[in-house]
Symmetry: C2
Subunit: 146 residues, 2 copies
DNA sequence: TATTGTTATACTCTATAACTATA
DNA sequence: TATAGTTATAGAGTATAACAATA
């Protein structure tokens, strides 16, 4: 590996896929039992950043099918972290909004949840962290764009 | 974002977690129906790169529990991509080895499976690809090291 | 008694298909 | 008839607990 300064793109794709899959499992394995699962935190974060939205839009953003987003939203509502209100003009639509409880919970969750990741990041040097920061933005753009 | 050349580490952890989760879902969503699932390809790749190993070692490397690795290995064996042989000295242990069929299948799988990822990578510039290549190695080290 | 692997069971996340209500 | 959301159902992947075989 690393034989070429202009790496073969298929090899990069394979490496990325494996790295992402492995870290994803590791993160899930590492998380505490009391916390919200990853996908709910992702939805909560999206509501926090991007504001009130319809379930369909949330589903598209998070790359899941509408039925799954229905369940995720319902779990957030049951936990008091989000509310569903009917759309004022279109009776078919629903608007999902984060609550104040959800907002403060999100901050607290993130602080408690990233202990392992923080520790791992601490073992890296500054340039490696910078690389990961840039990579995170590129990956988010690749996965979330369109 | 990107307001700070020395980014806050907790923020980086959150960004990484979200990026990895989202890309993981996107990749799963994007993959063809005839292919082996990600986790089997990962095991096959590990057997290809690191040679014959016991299921326990595979499980630790891939961050899954032994029962899950038992199933993954059995699926690979049923498909003819790996073989299980008894350990020559320790009757409790099993040695898992990739077959020639598995090896050639792995190459072909990767080529066919990464179409979406390849296309996305093609839209990046050279420096972004270099960033991702370095990040892939760092992430693999973080997830697989220990 | 400790270790390696497996079987049994259950839970989480996800998808597709069918259904309801509104436009 | 088309669209937004939901319900019903099924499947994949994973975990924990209990078990079997060997050391």
């Amino acid at each position: 590996m690393r034989t070429n300064p202009s790496p073969d793109q298929s090899e990069l794709a394979a490496e990325l896929r494996i790295a992402v899959g492995r870290l994803h499992r590791r993160l899930r394995h590492q998380r505490g039992t009391v916390d919200l699962p990853d996908h709910l935190v992702a939805v909560l974060g999206l509501l926090h950043r991007a504001g009130p939205q319809a379930p369909g839009a949330l589903a598209e953003h998070e790359c899941v099918r509408p039925p799954q987003m229905t369940r995720s939203v319902n779990q957030l509502v049951e936990s008091g972290f989000a509310v569903k209100t009917p759309h004022p003009e279109d009776g078919r639509q629903v608007v999902v909004e984060i609550t104040e409880t959800g907002r403060s919970q999100l901050i607290e969750l993130r602080r408690r949840r990233d202990e392992w990741l923080d520790a791992e990041l601490s073992t890296l040097d500054e340039s490696e962290r910078t690389t990961l920061e840039q990579a995170a933005h590129i990956l988010q753009r690749m996965a979330g764009g369109r």
